[in-house]
Symmetry: D3
Subunit: 136 residues, 6 copies
């Protein structure tokens, strides 16, 4: 009997979509305005979803204060008010699409959690475009 707890967080960042192995023409054709060499940016809104058994002592699946600290250390501190392409190690050789960002966030948070927990990350790049990853 497992319950999923969800916690929202957010970070604001600049990025640019670009494949370094392609010509500038191909990058423009595939990524359009997202390939602006001067960057553009987003308010990324995040939902971190952790599924597990309820601890009968606390009534919690996981203490939200602990989860909040993990999100701060793994996502907000390294990503907020940053240029994802220039300032964040993981995206120096990985195109920072929403899909690649959500996988990176999942991997960073997953290794901080007890193995019995299932994890799903939802990442809003805009209020109209978002992505989900659960490791499967």
């Amino acid at each position: 009997m497992k319950v999923t707890v969800h916690r929202k967080a957010h970070f604001n960042a600049a990025h640019r979509l670009n494949n370094k192995n392609w010509s500038e023409e191909k990058n423009d054709k595939i990524f359009g305005l997202c390939n602006n060499p001067n960057y553009h940016g987003h308010n990324y809104e995040l939902i971190v979803s952790v599924k597990g058994e309820i601890d009968p002592e606390t009534g919690y699946v996981i203490d939200m204060k602990i989860l909040k600290d993990i999100i701060y250390e793994e996502v907000e501190l390294p990503f907020d008010h940053k240029n994802l392409n220039l300032d964040v190690e993981e995206f120096k050789n990985l195109n920072p699409t929403a899909e690649n960002i959500v996988v990176v966030i999942w991997q960073k948070i997953k290794k901080r959690l007890d193995k019995d927990f299932d994890l799903e990350i939802t990442l809003y790049e805009t209020p109209r475009n978002f992505v989900t990853f659960n490791g499967k």
Copy 2:
């Protein structure tokens, strides 16, 4: 390792809930105000969710511009500012409940996508009532 990408869209339409094989009394009893012969309407808000592998070249599951065009051609163009019962072929003999609309939208978009993609449609009839269909 599959990621789900979600895209929002919307259309405004009139409709009426009615079973042509029933008496007017039974239609009124079951569908109440929704059976108004002069129609009522909704702002339908749509979430189209496509699950698939990330293309390592682009970092995309599917190019959002392509998905946006499919949604425009299959849903927005034929349904927006229309009377679903009178103007839309699929509902001439199918009661346009949220449940039936979401299945029709799923079928129309599914056949436009590569077979490797999983598809789920979420349709808000109002901000308080919504439905989900994933083909299973």
Copy 3:
């Protein structure tokens, strides 16, 4: 020292934008898809804002239960699940644009309130288009 209290409500209705004194060509040119003779529809979301002195006995500007009943009688009962053009007396000879609807709602609620109250109505036709009227 006046406080404004705001109450949300909603109704779902069909409508059509049309000027009976114009040719069909002119109606199509000005109103486009909104002139569909078979109607389209919206989830109208309403904010009723009443400004007045706080009653020192109750701590209320106006009892929300009373305001809720007024909104029900003047707006929800006559407009919800209706065709504004065909079913609502006020729009039989008045084009049901958001602007005209918000003025009608303001007039109907204004006459039910104590004269010392200021009234403003906000009407969302869609989550992206809305109008405001305060009688001035």
Copy 4:
């Protein structure tokens, strides 16, 4: 071919997180401000999701009026404007964390539904913290 229908509802309640078997020191350490002996409170927002076959006669999975009445009787009437710890039988010996509340709501609504329906409950304790339970 099953569709999920979702219905939103809400209730406002006071609560306090506390384990009666622990010392006050331990309760303060684990539950912090949530252990305030004078209580605090929330606007709980609820999504009730029912998955089943579409009835070909009505086009409905379940009549929303019936589902609305079940939610009223099982959740809104007993929980709204209540102190969960003092006024609600289920929480007299169960810590009213969001996790425990969502399981109780699931159990109460599940037994009112036809056995062929799958049920999932989503409960927002705040706009930033929410939980999900589907019985598995």
Copy 5:
């Protein structure tokens, strides 16, 4: 040429509506469920709006970090996870209706701001009921 800057904040609290000078019958009649002697509660969402000239050096009306700290000290610290009737000095003899709370918050923040600023407070008691006060 003045710009208004708005900052959102929130606190969760228990309260009870009650006039100590009235009989319990009258309190029940006027305040209904809100008079529950065991309290109920809300997630109060707050918008603090400060209007003033743009500082040509910074491009700011007011540094948001300073405004955030004022809101924390004057509202979040004293009100969050509290019982407004029992734990908050201002409401020991003042009925904690949304109207009275918004005036108290306005007074507390107003005296912390430079006199040249105009201040308006919007307080959501629920997503459907909210109040506004600007000192006039």
Copy 6:
């Protein structure tokens, strides 16, 4: 008797807060993370509010299609997917704070509108921080 019509729009952009006349130490002290030389970014959400008389022929204050085109030409085309500091003429010597951006947008749209209209712009830099300007 004037009604206000509101239209939402949005653009995604990178920016950096910086005063070129200050030392880097002072810029860091005042603007903190917002001074990142590699930029960060936002999803800016915009509400354009136009107040005027209802045209008795159309029932419109202003045709939304015309307003939508003005917003596209003056805001979305020049600002969307851009670096405000590097790509947008107006911010080459003006710090792109939300306050300065909202004034620039107001000036650009104001000169496109009939003089009888009042104009107010609301600009969300994040869902939690926003600004308003109406020219006064």
